[in-house]
């Protein structure tokens, strides 16, 4: 397997170690597709750059922080999330139809895609490996309390757990509860507290 090592290995072609079988096979495919004029390498660079630098959980964190500080924005976000998210400049594939679900002291929400790996790319970027893995996809619907517990903060028995299985093109974002003691913080400072897992619902803030 190409992934026996999961340390940060962006060095496939930087000489620290011999290229893996997959690296060679993908390089061969890219060379061929470029030679045949099927893909433009500059377009590939632009797509990789988009996912590495333009989208990610920092986008979602800005939305959450705005919702915490601006009640009118929060109302728009819970009413028509796609439009409210676009107000902050975030839109694109895998974010066409957004729904935001709110955590409260009595409700915890958890997002999964049991069928594949659907995830709101414009606001969270690409999903982590665990989100795409068979263990998470199979267990999140049948044992959401156990899954959440593994992330470190199990819900109490009298807290309702709502799981959202993204089976269509609607993408879900959890609005986490604002942590106690953050009344004096501004929007930027609040956004820094918001985590990817908080917006998937696996771990409150």
């Amino acid at each position: 397997m190409a992934h026996d090592h999961h340390d940060h290995d962006h060095g496939d072609d930087h000489g620290q170690e011999p290229p893996s079988d997959m690296a060679l096979r993908v390089k061969a495919l890219e060379s061929l597709m470029v030679e045949k004029g099927l893909v433009d390498p500059a377009a590939l660079d632009a797509i990789v750059d988009h996912f590495e630098h333009k989208v990610g959980p920092r986008n979602g964190a800005r939305i959450v922080a705005r919702a915490w500080t601006d009640p009118a924005y929060k109302a728009r976000l819970l009413g028509d999330a796609t439009a409210a998210i676009a107000e902050l400049g975030y839109a694109g594939g895998q974010g066409e139809h957004m729904v935001v679900v709110e955590n409260t002291p009595t409700v915890r929400n958890l997002v999964v895609c049991t069928l594949c790996s659907c995830y709101p790319w414009p606001v969270l970027g690409l999903p982590p490996v665990w989100y795409k893995s068979a263990p998470y996809r199979s267990r999140a619907v049948i044992d959401p309390r156990g899954v959440i517990a593994e992330f470190g903060a199990p819900p109490a028995e009298d807290v309702e757990v709502r799981v959202w299985d993204s089976t269509a093109e609607i993408r879900y974002l959890v609005l986490p509860e604002r942590p106690a003691g953050t009344e004096g913080l501004d929007e930027d400072a609040l956004a820094a507290l918001v985590t990817r897992d908080g917006m998937i619902g696996t771990r409150p803030l």
Binding site: A2, H3, H8, D9, H10, D12, S20, A23, R25, V26, K27, A28, L29, E30, L32, M33, E35, L38, V39, D40, A42, A43, L44, D45, I47, V48, H50, F51, K54, A91, G92, G93, E96, H97, T114, L115, C116, S117, P128, V129, W130, K132, A134, R137, S138, R139, I142, R145, V147, E157, E160, V161, R162, V163, W164, S166, T167, A168, E169, I170
Partner: protein
């Protein structure tokens, strides 16, 4: 695979990079830029065609690579030998790439939609429905774990492109889409917490009035 037992531990990696290897990003980008890209449902169906035991053993981007190479061959754009060599066989005619860097950036930020004009919804919020027991031979987005189960319409979402048609080149065939809430007890039995529920987004052909 919702509800299946014993598929392994959830492994949480701190500070995970977007791509673990350079090649993963290239596979992602090639899949998006390739002329084999048709629609999202056909792409999902292509990855579902990987046999179960292999599917479970492959990483996410290994599946994408497998699907991309199969599509390139199926579209007659290259032979398996060319893909293995990384070089075109003599005498080929070069195409012009369909997606430039500028067009890629524009496409990634485009505000698309799967909403379409379509039939009026039969169900209203609060209606009791049962997920049909269906086992179509092709692509579907009706998970096995809700088939035959009772739920309640939680929201109407308008008419959306219907994957069971779209994945197979049979057009968008828009159908009303609903968010349907199932109690955890209905799905998993009396040991589930009575407060808990699972919501899924299901198209009208997956549902019947209960």
């Amino acid at each position: 695979m919702g509800g299946m037992a014993n598929l392994g531990e959830i492994v949480i990696e701190p500070d995970e990079p977007v791509f673990h290897h350079t090649w993963e990003g290239r596979v992602h980008a090639m899949t998006m830029a390739s002329p084999t890209r048709t629609n999202i449902d056909a792409g999902r169906h292509q990855r579902e065609l990987i046999a179960g035991p292999e599917y479970l053993a492959m990483t996410y981007y290994e599946k994408w690579f497998r699907s991309l190479t199969e599509l390139v061959v199926a579209h007659g754009l290259a032979t398996p030998a060319e893909i293995a060599d990384g070089r075109a066989a003599p005498g080929f005619q070069a195409s012009t790439p369909g997606l430039s860097a500028d067009a890629a950036a524009e496409r990634l930020a485009r505000r698309g939609s799967y909403l379409r004009d379509g039939p009026s919804p039969q169900f209203a919020e609060g209606d009791a429905v049962r997920a049909r027991t269906l086992n179509p031979p092709g692509h579907t987005r009706l998970p096995r774990y809700v088939r035959g189960r009772l739920g309640v319409i939680a929201a109407r979402r308008g008419a959306h492109v219907f994957p069971d048609s779209h994945a197979h080149g049979k057009g968008e065939d828009p159908r009303p889409l609903y968010t349907v809430r199932f109690t955890a007890r209905e799905l998993w039995g009396p040991d589930a917490n009575p407060l808990d529920s699972v919501c899924l987004d299901l198209w009208e052909p997956y549902l019947e009035r209960a």
